[in-house]
């Protein structure tokens, strides 16, 4: 906490708090990307106040109710319907609203510039914002406003202990990795709010009625002289890739059965295409089960306790062997190296050959598979010469 006191101090008795509230698609609504991929469809969709903004407003109201501020002003920037969002804010208890009319949606920097010019007009002692909006999840505006104004900022507030009446600063707890960080900021300042800061109040019916007569000032971008030119352009908005739905297994037996029957088919693709992660990646996780089984089985048969096979090492070994095999294949030294690695290490584990005897239904498929691949190998060999020839001709 720095204690420079050069700027004229904010009088807490008459302090104004500015709260930015954003109108977003309601959190419970399933969103849909527009067919032309320019954004999310907001036509005929339930809209409400961004939950983080609700928390910001609630905190501002509590500060006012505790006697540390005189007025809470809610601001919203956007189309005419933002007035509804402001009315909700007024019904919660804000004293007045400012609606900055804008028909296109802006990126954080533009919003920050607008808020800066508003702050220049309104002279608030505190600006509260939600840490991010649930529509674009940018988490930038608060920081940008603070930077543009040259004010201190406290982001992700999980507790705001108000303001010392004499020294005029606020202490803010923020949730950081591994604990809480307590900041102390001089006023005026920008605070962005996290989810656990408070539980926003309901707008009651009598308050909604009273809110109808509270003033909402309309402003335009021209009034605020803000340059809305943006250096960022949204190229495309698409839906995330569809994930295969998971399956809930009812017993360990079913899990093992699924692992035997369904998992190994895709296992091969897993370690070719997925990273190792800290634990060896998803492939290794699946492999671990089988490796352990194989290990236990071998140990019991050999009367020797094998040292535990580290999954990560095993999968690294496998993948690097594949890579080496691939290199060998490319430089045409030993063609079969690649497949040999597959046969000798991977296949027996995949087919649980160490756990299965000839009577088991997984036993014969393994040998059939082996036979099939060796057959394909033969065919491939006979064509190899021809392919290589044609490749040379292309050169």
């Amino acid at each position: 906490h720095q204690t420079h006191k050069s700027a004229p101090l904010t009088n807490l008795r008459t302090m104004k708090i500015l709260v930015a509230v954003k109108r977003v698609v309601d959190y419970a609504v399933k969103i849909r990307v527009k067919p032309d991929k320019t954004g999310v469809d907001t036509q005929n969709v339930k809209m409400s106040m961004n939950p983080f903004c609700e928390i910001a407003l609630e905190e501002a109201l509590r500060i006012k109710e505790a006697g540390f501020a005189k007025e809470v002003v809610a601001v919203s920037i956007g189309p005419p319907q933002c007035v509804d969002t402001l009315r909700t804010g007024l019904a919660m208890g804000a004293d007045r609203g400012i609606h900055v009319e804008a028909n296109s949606s802006f990126l954080p920097l533009t919003i920050a510039k607008i808020l800066k010019s508003l702050a220049d007009v309104e002279n608030p002692g505190l600006i509260f914002l939600g840490k991010q909006a649930i529509d674009d999840d940018c988490n930038q505006t608060g920081q940008m406003v603070a930077a543009l104004l040259g004010w201190p900022q406290a982001t992700f507030a999980s507790k705001v202990v108000v303001l010392d009446k004499d020294k005029q600063f606020a202490t803010v707890d923020r949730e950081v990795d591994g604990g809480l960080e307590t900041l102390s900021v001089d006023l005026p300042a920008v605070i962005t709010t996290d989810l656990r800061l408070n539980q926003p109040r309901y707008a009651t019916l009598p308050n909604i009625m009273k809110a109808k007569s509270k003033p909402i000032k309309k402003m335009t971008l021209e009034d605020l002289k803000v340059d809305i030119k943006s250096d960022i352009e949204i190229v495309e908005v698409t839906e995330p890739k569809k994930r295969k739905s998971g399956v809930i297994v009812s017993s360990v037996d079913e899990l093992i059965d699924k692992l035997k029957n369904e998992a190994h088919a895709s296992l091969w693709n897993y370690y070719r295409f997925s990273g190792f992660g800290v634990d060896g990646g998803p492939a290794a996780k699946k492999l671990a089960l089988k490796l352990n089984l194989a290990n236990a089985n071998l140990s019991s048969r050999l009367w020797v306790t094998l040292s535990n096979i580290e999954v990560r090492q095993a999968s690294v070994t496998i993948v690097s062997l594949i890579a080496i095999g691939g290199v060998i294949f490319v430089i045409r030294k030993i063609f079969g190296a690649y497949l040999a690695v597959y046969f000798t290490i991977v296949s027996p584990i995949l087919y649980d050959i160490y756990n299965n005897g000839p009577e088991d239904r997984y036993f014969s498929p393994f040998w059939i598979e082996l036979f099939k691949i060796s057959l394909q190998l033969q065919i491939f060999r006979s064509y190899k010469a021809k392919i290589m020839q044609s490749m040379r001709m292309d050169e």
Partner: protein, 646 residues
């Protein structure tokens, strides 16, 4: 009192047993002597009804018990509803008109209006708009308030819908110039009989010329805007959880539900008590099986009043799809009968082509089905795999999912819609025309007529009962009367039903001198599980058919999880003692949101788990539960689905 009741009963039972005749008799009786005189005498016997004044002057009702206990209607209510009906008109000079006052008593706030309307749907908003229009015409000022449990106006509105603009033409004649979301004229009527693999075209019994394919949710949003322009106060996000009565048992308004009560019943940090909203006239427009309307119908014995039968219901499950441009034919209307439902189960599907490559697809299943293993949701999934339907849907995506029950009782089931202090309008009373499968126009009209009666009562010293009289003189009545025998005919199965319907439609046109009666009430119709074999439904493929959680996600339904369940069991033991062993747990199947699930408890015994957050507010459980043990009450305001294109 007893004497009068006896007179009333004997006159009805001795003369004619058919409902319609009885109604004519009532009409006669209301305008001529003997019965009416006896009612006037009644006022002398019960002078306190004469002296009871308007809501604003009467003392507040005693609020002794906790709100959650007050939903139980008082039994043994001694007076016939008839005794209230002809009570004195509302005095219009008791206080300044159009002035709303907010008062606070014992921590609870109370707000007063001239007219209070519960439910911002087609009926409620039509009533509100009509009231304000009358105010403008007659230079009066009445305050009108509409409360709506949905988070937004239109958010809980779901319907087919092929819209007949008759009532809207009367209400807002210039709607065509006012950007109403009524754009796609119905262009063709197709009627298919489905077998497992084929669709056989039948001559269409529907005539949708001049009608429009719309989303009712969007039309209601538009109506809401019109209402607000007229100065009507609409408050979405507030659910009416109980009826307020005055000392003379007249309805004086409603109380909104307390907000911020946790699952265990304790008050949360955000607790906000509900508010009493009072109306000199209260109109209930809650839609099919309204939770408060049902209480009022019971309390004032409104069905018995006019010898109406019980209401019968159907469950409609609907999806809106966005399909390939090449398969989309705006205005095309398709109805089907037959597969996947068995011939003993009444129901059918609809497929309407709307704007913007959207089609509405739905399945309606009458809730008097017998087989407890029937699963309407799964039947709907099956329907989408029928070759004739699959062809249209393939390559498309689902935009929204929803479900709602609808009234099928029609003419035979209309209760007396007026009670002391207000009236019941729209589907809460039940004006759906079954053979047309349309109820929006009749609901709107009933709202308008009730509004006119309310205006008369408040402004001109007339009586709310004029609503009943004008209703019977209106086209709503004619329509429902001539349609009265279609649905009950299907009680005998699909083929006899079709035969009677065809006769009615092409030859008799409702002129037969008899009225068929409805069969058993829906909850009594369910057979014991041992009479039936469980039905094996195919697994959803994730392309045309989906599991319930996926569908629920598309309904946007949501409730604050930390609140007491709004689905109450009158006896918490019945599910495990009766429903599961005897009926095979039908609630786990008819609920289109899988709210009811039997899970194992700590001892491995099956136990009913109620996932109230999933609820789509369709009310099927309130209707179909074999022992009528489940009561649907309103959750915290704002909870429930968020429909926008339904």
């Amino acid at each position: 009192m007893k004497k009068m009741k006896a007179l009333f009963r004997s006159s009805s039972s001795s003369s004619l047993s058919f409902t319609i005749m009885h109604r004519f008799l009532l009409k006669l009786s209301s305008s001529t002597n003997p019965l009416r005189n006896s009612k006037n005498q009644l006022h002398l016997i019960l002078p306190r009804f004469l002296s009871s004044t308007t809501a604003s002057e009467s003392p507040p009702p005693p609020r002794t018990s906790h709100p959650s206990n007050r939903f139980i209607s008082r039994s043994g209510y001694p007076y016939s509803a008839d005794s209230f009906r002809k009570s004195r008109p509302f005095s219009s000079n008791s206080r300044a008109l159009g002035v709303r006052c907010i008062s606070s008593e014992a921590g609870r706030e109370s707000i007063e209006y001239d007219v209070l309307i519960i439910g911002a749907g087609p009926a409620g908003l039509s009533a509100a708009i009509r009231l304000k229009q009358l105010c403008q015409e007659k230079n009066a000022d009445l305050s009108v308030c509409v409360v709506e449990k949905g988070a937004e106006v239109g958010g809980h509105v779901i319907s087919g819908n092929v819209f007949e603009p008759l009532a809207l033409d009367e209400l807002l004649p210039h709607w065509r110039q006012e950007q109403a979301p009524i754009e796609v004229a119905a262009s063709s009527d197709k009627f298919w009989f489905l077998t497992k693999n084929r669709a056989i075209s039948l001559p269409s019994p529907f005539d949708n010329k001049g009608n429009y394919v719309i989303s009712l949710s969007q039309l209601v949003r538009w109506l809401g805007g019109k209402a607000e322009e007229l100065g009507i106060e609409i408050y979405p996000g507030f659910s009416a959880s109980e009826v307020l009565y005055d000392a003379s048992d007249k309805v004086v308004g409603i109380a909104t539900k307390d907000m911020g009560i946790s699952k265990d019943g304790s008050k949360k940090e955000t607790f906000q008590p509900g508010v009493d909203i009072k109306g000199r006239v209260t109109l209930f427009a809650e839609g099919c099986r309204g939770s408060l309307s049902e209480k009022i119908i019971k309390k004032y014995k409104l069905r018995e009043e006019v010898n109406a039968q019980h209401q019968t219901y159907a469950l409609g499950i609907k999806e809106v799809w966005e399909i390939d441009e090449s398969k989309h034919n705006p205005g095309e209307v398709v109805h089907t009968l037959g597969w996947p439902l068995d011939p003993k189960t009444y129901g059918g599907s609809f497929l309407y082509h709307m704007n913007d490559r959207q089609v509405a697809l739905g399945l309606v299943v009458a809730l008097n089905y017998k087989n407890p293993f029937l699963n309407p949701y799964e039947e709907f999934q099956k329907l989408k795999h029928h070759p004739a339907i699959k062809r249209i849907l393939e390559g498309g995506t689902v935009l929204q999912y929803g479900a709602r029950t609808l009234n099928e009782g029609g003419f035979q089931s209309i209760p007396y819609p007026v009670f002391p202090g207000g009236a019941i309008i729209g589907c809460s009373a039940g004006f759906l025309n079954v053979p047309k499968i349309k109820g929006t126009h009749t609901a709107m009209k009933s709202g308008m007529l009730a509004a006119e009666a309310a205006f008369g009562a408040l402004h001109e010293g007339l009586n709310m009962n004029t609503y009943w009289d004008t209703l019977r003189g209106s086209w709503v009545w004619k329509e429902l009367y001539s349609a009265r025998n279609y649905r009950p005919a299907f009680e005998y199965g699909l083929i006899p039903g079709l035969a009677v319907s065809a006769m009615e439609h092409y030859v008799l046109k409702g002129k037969v001198p008899f009225t068929l009666k409805h069969g058993k009430a829906d909850h009594e119709a369910t057979d014991l599980a041992r009479k039936w074999k469980p039905i094996e439904y195919p697994k959803p493929d994730g392309v045309l058919s989906f599991d319930v959680p996926t569908s629920l996600y598309r309904s946007n339904t949501n409730h604050d999880h930390d609140q007491p369940s709004h689905l109450r069991l009158k006896d918490p033991k019945i599910p495990e003692k009766v429903n599961l062993p005897e009926y095979g747990a039908p609630e786990s199947r008819y609920c289109p949101a899988r709210v009811y699930e039997y899970v194992e408890d700590e001892e491995g015994k099956p136990k009913l788990q109620i996932n109230a957050q999933n609820c789509l507010h369709c009310k099927a459980c309130d209707i179909k539960d074999p022992k009528q043990n489940i009561e649907w009450t309103v959750p915290e305001g704002g909870g429930g689905p968020a429909y926008s294109v339904m």
